[in-house]
């Protein structure tokens, strides 16, 4: 086996031609596509990460909104309970006042009726006793002054007893 410089030359030329052909017609395109592919994958990964972050944010927001709603509902219930309690107290208060007022009115009415009855009774008794007295004593009581004095004295005795 001998080394032929012609073969060396031929192989160098052949390799150089192959290199330039491949570089020009194949590898540059392939590298560009691979770069694009890499970018595509990178973009998709970034997008996925972004979406995940957004989703987490959204869930957090939802949770917050839910919490807020729950708290509001709780407040509303609390408030309505308080107002109902107050109303009930007010009603009871009013009812009490009403009863007191009614009772006082009733007492006053009774008093009035009683006074009226006493007055009436007194008048009636006066005239009846005059009749009785005039029948009993007839002529002895002539003057009105003496008559009335007598009636009053009598009535006092009756009123004191009653």
């Amino acid at each position: 086996m001998e080394v032929l410089w012609e073969n060396i030359l031929i192989s160098i030329v052949a390799f150089a031609i192959l290199y330039f052909l491949l570089h020009k017609y194949a590898f540059s395109k392939l590298f560009a596509i691979m770069e694009q592919r890499r970018e595509l994958v990178m973009n998709q990964m970034n997008e996925a990460a972004e979406t995940r972050k957004q989703a987490a944010l959204y869930v957090e927001e939802q949770k917050k909104a839910l919490d807020q709603a729950r708290q509001e509902a709780h407040e509303i219930i609390e408030r309505s309970r308080q107002t109902s309690n107050k109303q009930a107290e007010q009603l009871i208060e009013q009812a009490k006042e009403e009863t007191v007022r009614l009772k006082a009115e009733a007492v006053r009415d009774i008093e009035n009726e009683k006074n009226k009855a006493v007055e009436e009774l007194r008048g009636e008794l006066g005239s009846v006793s005059v009749k009785i007295a005039s029948k009993l004593i007839e002529r002895e009581v002539k003057t009105d002054e003496a008559q009335e004095q007598l009636v009053d004295q009598y009535l006092k005795e009756v009123g004191g007893r009653s």
Binding site: M1, L4, N7, L9, L22, A26, I33
Partner: protein, 255 residues
């Protein structure tokens, strides 16, 4: 020993088998790569494109192991061409060889094949036409010389000061040693590749002599030869990248 079909143009020896095999190798590599990049697609790559991308990533790994990938981007094409060319070249000689027995003064294109010149009547020249191109030391030497020229040229162009300084390190007296070291690199590249592939082909020839008994051995050896061919292509490529990295890249930490 088989002869090469060499014809003479004036003083120029043209080895027809080398020309044919180089042409076949280059054509196969080019067609393979062209098929792979025929329907390039970002979204939906074909199987061949996937394969080619795997090869590119493999070579990127080789380059990245030798140097910073940012600086080595331009060498990926070179590495790809080297690894594909050498791998295909190594495999070409495995399935068969074409050997013809030629009579005296056999002529091709009107030129006499040198090996058959002045043969005595009745003698035949065994001329080997189809073989691995890398089983020829001249061709592996050609590849190694490309690497040699490239690494020294790139060293001078990109890293002149440190490249020249490295010849005088650690002491100026080491200059001859450094020159020898530099020259030994392409020689080692050429001989390693040639010897591995040539030995493989020789052993195939030997096993063929065993006849039917040799078939299992032949199967095993051919499988191993595929492995060796891939391995040698890988070694050649990675050494090329390492040599280029050594001459072009000055590492601060190294000194």
């Amino acid at each position: 020993m088989h002869e090469s079909p060499i014809i003479k143009f004036g003083g120029f020896h043209l080895d027809l088998s080398a020309v044919i095999m180089l042409f076949v190798t280059c054509t196969i590599v080019f067609v393979l790569v062209r098929l792979a990049v025929r329907n390039l697609s970002v979204e939906n790559p074909s199987k061949l494109q996937n394969f080619m991308e795997w090869v590119v990533e493999f070579v990127q790994g080789i380059v990245a192991s030798a140097m910073d990938l940012k600086k080595g981007k331009g060498y990926i094409s070179l590495g790809l061409t080297l690894i594909l060319f050498i791998f295909v070249a190594n495999l070409l000689g495995l399935p068969f060889a074409i050997i013809t027995d030629l009579p005296a003064n056999f002529e091709v294109f009107g030129k006499t094949i040198e090996a058959t010149r002045n043969l005595h009547d009745g003698y035949m020249a065994h001329v080997l036409w189809w073989k691995s191109p890398t089983a020829d030391i001249s061709i592996t030497a050609g590849l190694a010389i490309i690497v040699f020229i490239l690494m020294n040229y790139l060293g001078l162009k990109l890293n002149r000061k440190h490249y020249l300084k490295h010849y005088l390190e650690p002491f100026p007296i080491f200059l001859p040693l450094n020159i020898i070291e530099n020259l030994a690199k392409p020689v080692a590249l050429a001989i390693r590749l040639f010897a591995n592939i040539f030995a493989g082909e020789v052993l195939i020839t030997v096993i063929l002599k065993m006849g039917i008994l040799g078939i299992p051995f032949l199967a095993v050896w051919q499988g191993f030869s595929i492995f060796v061919g891939a391995l040698q292509a890988f070694i050649f490529t990675i050494l090329t990248m390492v040599y280029i990295a050594q001459t072009t890249i000055h590492e601060e930490a190294a000194h």
